[in-house]
C-alpha cells in the first residue's frame, strides 16, 4: 500500500468530523476568556509577589532593627560573627558621618549639635550621645583632634532593658583612613548581650579578665588594631568601649593615628557620668 492510498483512507475516514459546522467566533470567545484568565493570574501573581517582597523587606528590616549590634547604614560593614542577643527589644540604628563629609556636614569635633528627631529613637538619646561624646573626649582626646562626632544611635531599647551607645570616628586630620570608638552603656543581662570580642570582630585575639583601677573585674582585649574594655558594674548595668582601627561603617582603610591606650579606655568606662538614662 503506497502512501497516497493511506492518506486517502485517512481523509475519507475523517471527512465527517471535518465537515462539522463550526463557528470561529466560539473559538475566539474561548481565546478571549483564556486571555482574561491569564491576565488575572498575572496580575494576581504580581500583586502577591509584590506583597511577599514587602513582607520580606519588612521582616528583614525588623530583624535588622532587632539586632542591637547591627549598624544599618554607612560604608562597608564587618560581618558579625556572633549571634544576635536574645533580648526582645526594638533598636534604632542610623548612619554615621563619613570622614569625607564630616567636615562639611557635621560640626567640628567637640561641638556636637542637636540631633534631628529620628522615628523610633528613644527619648533622650540625643542628649545621651552628646554625653558619651563628651566623656570619651575627656578621656581619650582631650585636645579634640581625633574623635569625630557622628549622628545616630546604636543599641536597643525595650522597656526597662536597654543598651544605648554610639560609634565615633577616630582619625588624624586629613588622613583617609578612620578608626572607630564605640562606647555604650546598658543593663541587658549578660547572657543576652554581646561580650568582649563578640561585636563585629574577625580576629583571633582572645579576651582576658583584668582588674580596673577601681578594683572591679573587667574583660579586656588588646591588640594593635583592636581594644576592648567591658565592665559589668555591681548594680547590673555595664559599660563597654571598643576601639577598632577600621571604622567599618565608613571605610575600609585603617586610621594611621595612634589608637587610644587600654589605660585610657579603662578610665573611660569608669567615668561616673556614664549612667543609663531611666
Amino acid at each position: 500500500m503506497d502512501e497516497s492510498r493511506i492518506t486517502a483512507l485517512m481523509v475519507e475516514a475523517t471527512d465527517e468530523v471535518a465537515g462539522q459546522r463550526f463557528d470561529p467566533e466560539d473559538d475566539l470567545r474561548r481565546g478571549r476568556a483564556a486571555q482574561r484568565r491569564r491576565s488575572t493570574k498575572v496580575t494576581a501573581a504580581a500583586v502577591l509577589g509584590t506583597a511577599a517582597a514587602v513582607v520580606v523587606a519588612l521582616a528583614l528590616a525588623g530583624q535588622l532593627a532587632w539586632r542591637p549590634d547591627v549598624q544599618v547604614a554607612g560604608g562597608p560593614e564587618h560581618t558579625a560573627t556572633t549571634a544576635p542577643t536574645r533580648l526582645d527589644t526594638a533598636a534604632v540604628t542610623s548612619t554615621t558621618v563619613s570622614p569625607q563629609t564630616t567636615s562639611a556636614a557635621a560640626p567640628a569635633p567637640g561641638t556636637p549639635t542637636p540631633l534631628p528627631g529620628m522615628p523610633g529613637m528613644p527619648v533622650g538619646v540625643a542628649e545621651f550621645n552628646r554625653l558619651l561624646f563628651a566623656v570619651a573626649q575627656d578621656h581619650v582626646d582631650p585636645d579634640h583632634t581625633r574623635l569625630e562626632w557622628t549622628e545616630g544611635f546604636t543599641g536597643s531599647s525595650g522597656g526597662n532593658v536597654k543598651e544605648w551607645g554610639r560609634k565615633f570616628g577616630w582619625q588624624a586630620p586629613g588622613e583617609s583612613g578612620q578608626a572607630m570608638l564605640y562606647l555604650g552603656v546598658g543593663n541587658i543581662p549578660a547572657a543576652d548581650r554581646l561580650g568582649c570580642g563578640q561585636y563585629d570582630y574577625q580576629g583571633t585575639r582572645k579576651c582576658t579578665t583584668a582588674t580596673l583601677p577601681n578594683g572591679q573585674p573587667a574583660v579586656e582585649m588588646s591588640s594593635p588594631t583592636r581594644l576592648e574594655v567591658h565592665w559589668s558594674r555591681p548594680d547590673g548595668t555595664y559599660v563597654f568601649v571598643i576601639v577598632d582601627a577600621v571604622f567599618g561603617n565608613n571605610t575600609t582603610v585603617a586610621s594611621k593615628a595612634p589608637l587610644p591606650t587600654l589605660a585610657q579606655l579603662e578610665q573611660l568606662v569608669m567615668d561616673p557620668r556614664l549612667v543609663l538614662p531611666s
Binding site: M1, L9, E16, V17, A18, D27, L28, R30, A34, Q35
Partner: protein
C-alpha cells in the same frame, strides 16, 4: 508585507488580532479536527483537543501570527494537548463509546459499508501505541516529511522511521482490506 493581524505600527490591535485569528480558524479548523480525530479516535475528545489547541493559539497569536507557518504551531499544540490527555491517569480507564460517533447507528443502504470502513480505519489507528499513531497521522494525514515529523514531535528521525515502519506493518492488513472495499 505585514503578517496577518499586525497593524501599521507593527503591533496588532485587538480587532485586527481577532479578525486575523477568526479567518485563520475558519480556514484550518477542519484540518485540525481531522488530525485530532485520528489521534484520539473520539469525535468529542477531538473537539476538546481542537478547542484547547485553538485557545493556546489565540494566546500566542501575536507571536505565532508572524511565523511563516502558524499551522505548524497549532499542530504542535494539538499533539501536545493529546499527549497531556493520554498521560492523565483516567485515560486508559475511560474508553470512548461508539454512540454518537460519525457513522454510528447508520445502517441505511449503501452507506453502511463506507461507515464500517471509516470505523475500521479509526479503530485500526486506535489500536496503535500513541507514539506510532502520532507519527502515522502527521506523516500521512498532514503530509509531513520524516524530518518535519521528528521536529514536531521532538523525537529523532530514526525514531520516526522505525515507528512508521512498525505502524504500517500493523495497519497493513486492515488498511489494505479497507482500501480494496472502497475501491472495489
Amino acid at each position: 508585507m505585514r503578517p496577518q493581524g499586525v497593524g501599521a505600527s507593527g503591533r496588532s490591535t485587538q480587532p485586527e488580532r481577532d479578525s486575523a485569528f477568526t479567518a485563520w480558524v475558519g480556514a484550518h479548523r477542519p484540518q485540525l479536527m481531522r488530525t485530532a480525530y485520528l489521534l484520539c479516535g473520539d469525535r468529542y475528545v477531538a473537539e476538546d483537543l481542537v478547542q484547547t489547541c485553538l485557545t493556546r493559539l489565540y494566546l500566542a497569536w501575536p507571536r505565532v501570527s508572524t511565523m511563516d507557518a502558524p499551522l505548524a504551531y497549532a499542530r504542535r499544540a494539538l499533539v501536545n494537548a493529546h499527549i497531556d490527555l493520554t498521560r492523565r491517569p483516567w485515560w486508559n480507564r475511560e474508553r470512548p463509546s461508539t454512540d454518537g460517533q460519525p457513522g454510528a447507528g447508520v445502517s441505511v443502504g449503501d452507506g453502511v459499508e463506507i461507515v464500517d470502513a471509516r470505523d475500521t480505519v479509526v479503530s485500526a489507528l486506535g489500536s496503535l501505541p500513541h507514539g506510532q499513531r502520532r507519527v502515522v497521522v502527521l506523516r500521512y494525514l498532514c503530509g509531513l516529511t520524516v524530518r518535519e515529523t521528528a521536529q514536531e514531535l521532538g523525537i529523532s528521525e530514526g525514531t520516526v522511521k522505525s515507528q512508521t515502519f512498525e505502524a504500517l506493518r500493523s495497519l497493513a492488513v486492515v488498511l489494505a482490506a479497507v482500501a480494496d472495499r472502497w475501491e472495489g
